[in-house]
Amino acid sequence: MKLDHAIDGAIDAEQSLANTLQKLAGRHAAEHDIYQLGHTQSQKASARARRLGDFAERYGARAPKEADPEPGLVDALRRETSDLLGRSKSTGLLLLRDLQSAYLDAQRAEIAWTVLLQGARACRDGQLVETVSAVHEECEVTAKWLRTRIKVTAPQVLVAG
């Protein structure tokens, strides 16, 4: 049984998504919705990783990090820089690039949950199936939010910016 690999995979993907979203939020703080939702979604991603805590122990995988990535000073610095650069021309292209990269991270997490769900089903671990199904849907919402935001941003940046 190698279910620990799939658990590691989902935890890694979500923790990495949490970091990416937090950076996205800070770097583009002048986009207020991205600042606010980016942080909320980042916290949700690390909470999803933590949902696997008991299962990681049961199957011998690495334990998820206890705390959310700490925004603190780095976030304040990123935010200030974003406000300063918020009126310059290149911010739009940077935003589009960072949104795309976050979207790919969200997709990586989504497919990691799919892999784990398949494993959980084959192991007949009903508890794990239930947990994974619930968070899988939430992870898809994160990806969908990024997709919606990309669809809004792309035309403005590419044509009007």
């Binding site: 002048a30 986009e31 207020h32 919705d33 606010q36 939702l37 909320t40 979604q41 918020g86 009126r87 310059s88 021309k89 911010t91 739009g92 919402v141 994160t142 969908k144 939010w145 997709r147 919606t148 669809k151 809004v152 792309a154 035309p155 403005q156 940046v157 009007a160 910016g161």
Partner: protein
């Protein structure tokens, strides 16, 4: 949000649902049950600061009533989780099967009659006649009705909302902004930001208004316009009643109607349809109405059977007005069929917490097909919470004697004398804690700005400060944000409640969150 989830929790727990109605005419109960199960009265009471027994009692009143009319306005729409909460109000009526008959309805109201019109005519950026920007058939239909090529209808993204427009103006990808009959320099959040955006040299700002405002002060060009009573046109109220508003007097001076101005602009731009004829084929208000009427045919707001002469002969007519219902429709949803067929619906919907747009396949998968959708969402605290530095929760609103930014009401002596100046309200216990007496001048400050206004003690709950949003600077003199302040401007004596509010909006409706900020308060003088 927590409270409404709590009430639904109680309705479900006590079996107070109309099961036949819910089963036949709604979708989404299973998910709703799962979400609201987390909100028993004790949990909700703790979040909301009310006794759990009051929540039980409120649910009991709703659950035992034979009629239920709910109304929502900005108190819901400009709060945290606005759209999600508004949907829960709908849910409660649906769970009780109380819609589409006398005494049973929901009024999700708009701020003013013209705000209903803008939603129907496409002036909010939505597609005219409540068409769905993601539905290619709706787009094709519009292109046919307007005789333009389909790619000319901007259907690649959702409508650009005002907060996003201001952000584009801030980062420089919008350089020309035309503001019609509103006053964002007082009504939008975080006013120093709004002023600094409108004041940019690289942004060309045109404002249509009848009176000088804080926004016209920042404009490059001001076009004086006719007000109601000085022009002919229709208004539609929230209960779908269309009224004809006749021209009683001629507009003063050089003032023209908004429509004349926009038609003139379209002519000067040389806007054409795909056959090279003028894009706008109408000149008068009545011709414009007739063109709009045709575009609404078959849509929820169907005006197809309505004429100016019918409106002149009546006190108002409720849409839909069709060949089958020539004298209008008093009540909607009497057959308990809702506008949720995937091909017909105005919108495929959103995730309520992120605003992620659903697509056609998501909407189909819900299988609503004429049934109402019960939307569920967990409670989430607002983006800004009181802390050590700013211990109080700030909320903004209205007073009955003033409308919006007072540009009209302050010119009516009776209304102006009834509510001449700004103030904030705080609870007696907070007043005592901060050493503030009724009438003291106080400074209220958020992370974004401050106001200095007299205090009124009483009327709000502990921990909350209320400020009416009407009181800007146009009737004093508006100071330059960067430059030296003139007496009475925002830099000298700030009074506009939105100096303090945050740049944030509901992810679905995009309405600014004007009812939530963390503030500190201190006495300035007695």
């Amino acid at each position: 949000m927590a409270l409404l989830n709590g009430i639904q929790h109680e309705l479900i727990r006590n079996g107070l649902l109309d099961h036949d109605f819910v089963g036949a005419h709604t979708v989404g109960l299973e998910k709703l049950e799962k979400v609201v199960a987390e909100y028993p009265p004790e949990v909700v009471g703790h979040i909301c600061g009310v006794p759990a027994s009051d929540i039980v009692a409120a649910a009991e009143v709703i659950g035992q009533s034979e009629r239920l009319v709910s109304t929502c306005l900005q108190g819901v729409y400009q709060s945290n989780q606005a759209t999600a909460a508004a949907c829960q109000v709908n849910n409660i009526s649906l769970l009780r099967g109380m819609i589409g008959r006398p005494g049973c309805t929901v009024f999700q109201m708009n701020g003013q009659p013209t705000a209903q019109n803008t939603r129907e005519t496409g002036a909010d950026g939505d597609f005219v006649g409540m068409r769905n920007w993601q539905n290619p058939e709706h787009v094709a239909e519009l292109a046919r009705l307007w005789n333009v090529e389909e790619p000319h209808i901007p259907s690649w993204a959702p409508p650009t909302h005002v907060m996003q427009i201001f952000r584009y103006a801030e980062e420089g990808s919008i350089r020309f902004l035309w503001i019609t009959g509103t006053n964002p320099a007082v009504s939008l959040p975080e006013l120093h930001r709004v002023r600094s955006i409108l004041g940019q040299d690289r942004l060309f700002v045109v404002v249509n208004d009848a009176f000088p405002t804080e926004t016209t002060q920042l404009a490059d060009v001001v076009l004086p316009v006719a007000l109601w009573g000085e022009k002919l046109g229709t208004f539609t109220n929230h209960d779908r009643t269309v009224h004809l508003s006749e021209k009683a007097v001629a507009p003063p001076g050089e003032a023209r109607t908004d429509m004349e101005i926009f038609l003139d602009y379209a002519t000067r731009l040389g806007l054409q349809d795909k056959d090279g004829r003028p894009l706008l084929k109408w000149q008068t208000a009545e011709e414009c109405f007739e063109a709009f009427r045709e575009i609404t045919r078959g849509r929820p707001c169907d005006y197809s059977g309505l004429t100016y002469s019918a409106l002149r002969d009546s006190g108002g007519i409720q849409w839909p007005v069709t060949a089958e219902a020539p004298s209008g429709t008093e009540r909607l949803y009497t057959d308990h069929r809702f506008n949720t067929r995937t091909d017909y619906t105005e919108d495929y919907g959103h995730d309520l917490t992120t605003g992620a747009a659903h697509e056609r396949k998501d909407h189909l998968a819900m299988g609503a097909d004429g049934r109402a959708i019960l939307h569920a969402a967990p409670y989430q605290p607002g983006h800004e919470q009181p802390d050590e530095e700013r211990r109080l929760l700030y909320t903004t609103g209205r007073t009955i004697s003033q409308f919006h930014t007072r540009t009209k009401t302050a010119r009516a002596p009776q209304l102006q004398s009834a509510a001449p100046g700004p103030w904030v309200e705080l609870a007696p216990s907070d007043a005592e804690r901060y050493g503030i007496a009724d009438g003291d001048l106080v400074k209220v400050e958020s992370a974004r700005g401050r106001i200095v206004v007299p205090a009124r003690v009483g009327g709000v709950r502990e921990g909350v400060v209320f400020a009416p949003f009407h009181y800007g600077y146009w009737d004093r003199s508006v100071a330059d944000e960067e430059g030296d302040s003139e007496p009475g401007g925002p830099a000298d004596r700030p009074t506009a409640a939105n100096e303090l509010t945050m740049t944030a909006w509901d992810p679905v409706s995009k309405q600014p969150t004007l009812k939530l900020a963390a503030v500190s308060i201190a006495k300035v003088t007695s």
